[in-house]
Symmetry: C2
């Protein structure tokens, strides 16, 4: 009686929802390939108060909740269990305020990332989060999974873009922490409990986000190199010489060949090199911007760090290079079933990790191709292995995660754990860490009402 | 019997310590003015295992622990209670590894910040944390208080510089989380429990820290402006035009006059202006670096955002400007008793906040002077008020914190809460937030064995 909550029928009468199996079909699964099941109902609340009311009723009636954003996740975190109450944030899609003095946006969690970026750009500011699913992912999902993307090197991960948030806890309590200042040292910074924990500890309903000056121009180049050692030297030089550096994307030769093929592009260089870096800078439009970039590229060739360079002369040519980098979707469709790894490896161990893991993969699974690319500035390596047989997948995952663990790596640099990587979490986190994570989960979400079965129990 | 631990006498026989009141005198208090008391013993462990052993024995014998670093804190967090067991990290002072490929340093928590910066620079990398106490503060204390400083605008707060850590929990468990990669999305990022919580949840024993390319050159300028509105316009233009921007320090006229007086410097400008910005960029040594800076300063004057500019021609002249900015210590000694506020205020509310709070202060405490300066790029305002009478201090604090709260501000942007600001925490954090902070404190530190009486109970 303490937590008075509406009955389930009262909720249905007051909160927008869908309950027909046809309409709920698309709310069963995300993009991970994990098979979700039919929920009982999909609520589409329009306010934080409605989210809180749903949660309180589910507590009272002992129902489980699956939280959903844009359903673009790659770890199965948004997939429903049979009979779940789904809370979809997609109707909480308002950009509430853009503070053009302080560079802060206050938004509801259900705003589509691309819409947020456009709204901010119209005020001549910039929100630098960017990745392939930008047109359908929701900012709340980006934060709850601490999404990465192409510009982490310059602006940080999603975590670094969050100034504050409003959260509904598993007992329905609303925590308003919509802080707007960068420096706020008043004890435990609670927002970090909810960033990257994929809805296990709370439902993010609103966010205050950090904005950046709107870059007026970009420049891109593709550099061919002789070895990974040259890449790490180039990375250090680039970070030092180019304060505007926004992307440092590495592609190994076999990836470039496959990607050009699938993107219907000619190979960019006449010759063939072991490894390539796609470099981007973004900043103010002034002479010194392009001069500094060209001087750096000349330095790379003169110092023999780089072997060859392509500098696109038009936006179309630059886009064409990015299309090669982004052709991974097309490649993956052609090598099903596959595993797409998203690993963090300390740079100094990356050559040894790659050598060791590809040697075993080539020996044990000779019919599969192994493609390598990554956001190297962040130690983030993508390895895709396919075609495999379904029954081989678990063993391939076990092999790669165990090897990564041996090199002090992370089994997920950016995609998260969800349901799919839960069996492998032990390769990234010690027994003591898992115990502490569980203890905090049990403190805040004791009845496992939010997103049961994900990350840790 | 489950947690076997050495007896207190066995600890004394094996762990370096001091126990004479003369020697322990300096371990009673930090730089906050809070009066600490005489501890029972000061342990100076040299290894994580020794820290863990001390904690386990204190659990078994029900003794309280105060954790100490360089004793430079301004919130009373390191001050001992009578009879405490003090654990001083000062002997755990090894830089264990500097990874020159990935740009990562692995260090013990007791390294003096300045020593760390020097060791990193010798390997041609850069650790950008910087503030006045650099010669005596310890990196573990910097992390546990999430210290701020002069370069947050460019490199973030201490939190952003921490890749991973090793921590001893209040039951003696050692958590090894010395992660080396920037992107690591594997559930709850536990390090954030220990950053900024001032030793309430664990003792940080080792750290992996993020390094940056070593800047080869710096440039400084002092700009005079007509109003705070011009300062916010200048900030946005500077962030956009100067990717190398590392400091944006604002001084109001009355601060500049007092500071020049106490630093024995002439006033930098012939005329008098309402407000000034000390600007610094640091980066690669190339023509475009200085050209871009001078072009920006010209733009400021042409666009009438700035009224006048001083560009030092020598390092000595630049140092002289920074000495004015840093003269706050000398000023404070002359206005005792004083309150030195360290507030976070959203930029758009800052003029209204300043107007409101100084009007009341001038009316109620006409004998005190109010000086304003701050790291404005971060929304961090320093206000110092003195001379006051001792009995007036609490009311002045109450007034300023309550007013800051009304503008969505933070009562501590960088100095932390400790013992001194604990009574005012309610002005920055809601009842629900304080409850959650307490619940987590009670989960991890249930017997209040670490740093009792700080932040929340």
């Amino acid at each position: 009686m303490k937590n008075s909550s509406p009955s389930f029928n009262a909720l249905l009468a007051s909160v927008p929802h869908i309950a027909s199996p046809d309409q709920m079909q698309r709310h069963m699964s995300d993009m991970s390939g994990y098979e979700g099941a039919m929920p009982a109902v999909v609520f589409r609340p329009v306010s934080t108060e409605q989210v809180s009311a749903i949660v309180k009723t589910c507590v009272a009636e002992n129902r489980k909740i699956t939280i959903q954003g844009g359903l673009t996740g790659l770890a199965g975190g948004a997939c429903a269990d049979a009979g779940d109450v789904v809370i979809s944030l997609e109707s909480m899609n308002r950009v509430e305020e853009i503070d053009t003095i302080g560079g802060v946006a206050i938004v509801q969690a259900g705003v589509i990332l691309e819409n947020l970026c456009h709204a901010v750009q119209q005020e001549d500011w910039y929100f630098p989060l960017d990745f392939g699913s930008r047109g359908s992912c929701l900012i709340g999902g980006n934060v709850s999974t601490n999404a990465g993307g192409n510009k982490v090197l310059r602006y940080g991960t999603t975590r670094d873009l969050v100034l504050g948030m409003e959260v509904v806890l598993p007992d329905g309590t609303i925590l308003n922490m919509l802080n707007r200042v960068i420096k706020n040292n008043t004890g435990l910074d609670l927002k970090h409990l909810f960033i990257g924990t994929e809805g296990r500890l709370g439902i993010i309903t609103r966010l205050s986000l950090r904005l950046f000056p709107n870059p007026q121009t970009r420049a891109t180049a593709l550099v061919a190199l002789d070895s990974f050692d040259h890449v790490t030297r180039m990375l250090k030089e680039a970070r030092s010489a180019l304060p505007d550096l926004s992307s440092f994307e590495v592609m190994w030769q076999s990836y470039l060949v496959q990607a050009a093929l699938h993107a219907n592009k000619e190979l960019p260089f006449e010759g063939s090199y072991p490894i390539y870096v796609l470099l981007e800078i973004e900043g103010a439009d002034k002479d010194t911007f392009h001069d500094g970039f060209h001087a750096f590229l000349e330095f790379l060739i003169e110092s023999e760090i780089g072997r060859d360079v392509i500098v696109p002369q038009t936006l179309e040519q630059a886009d064409s290079l990015w299309q090669i980098r982004d052709a991974i979707g097309e490649i993956l469709r052609s090598i099903r079933p596959y595993v797409a790894f998203d690993i963090g490896i300390p740079l100094k161990h990356m050559p040894a990790f790659i050598e060791q893991v590809t040697a075993v993969l080539e020996k044990e699974y000779p019919q599969a191709i192994n493609l390598l690319f990554g956001h190297l500035g962040d130690g983030n390596l993508h390895l895709t292995t396919g075609k495999l047989q379904e029954k081989e997948i678990f063993a391939v995952e076990e092999l790669v995660y165990q090897t990564a663990s041996g090199f002090g790596g992370s089994i997920s640099a950016e995609h998260g754990i969800g349901r799919i990587k839960k069996p492998f979490l032990k390769y990234s986190r010690s027994r003591e860490e898992l115990d502490l994570m569980s203890a905090i989960k049990n403190l805040i979400n004791p009845r496992d009402i939010f997103n049961a079965g994900r990350i840790v129990d």
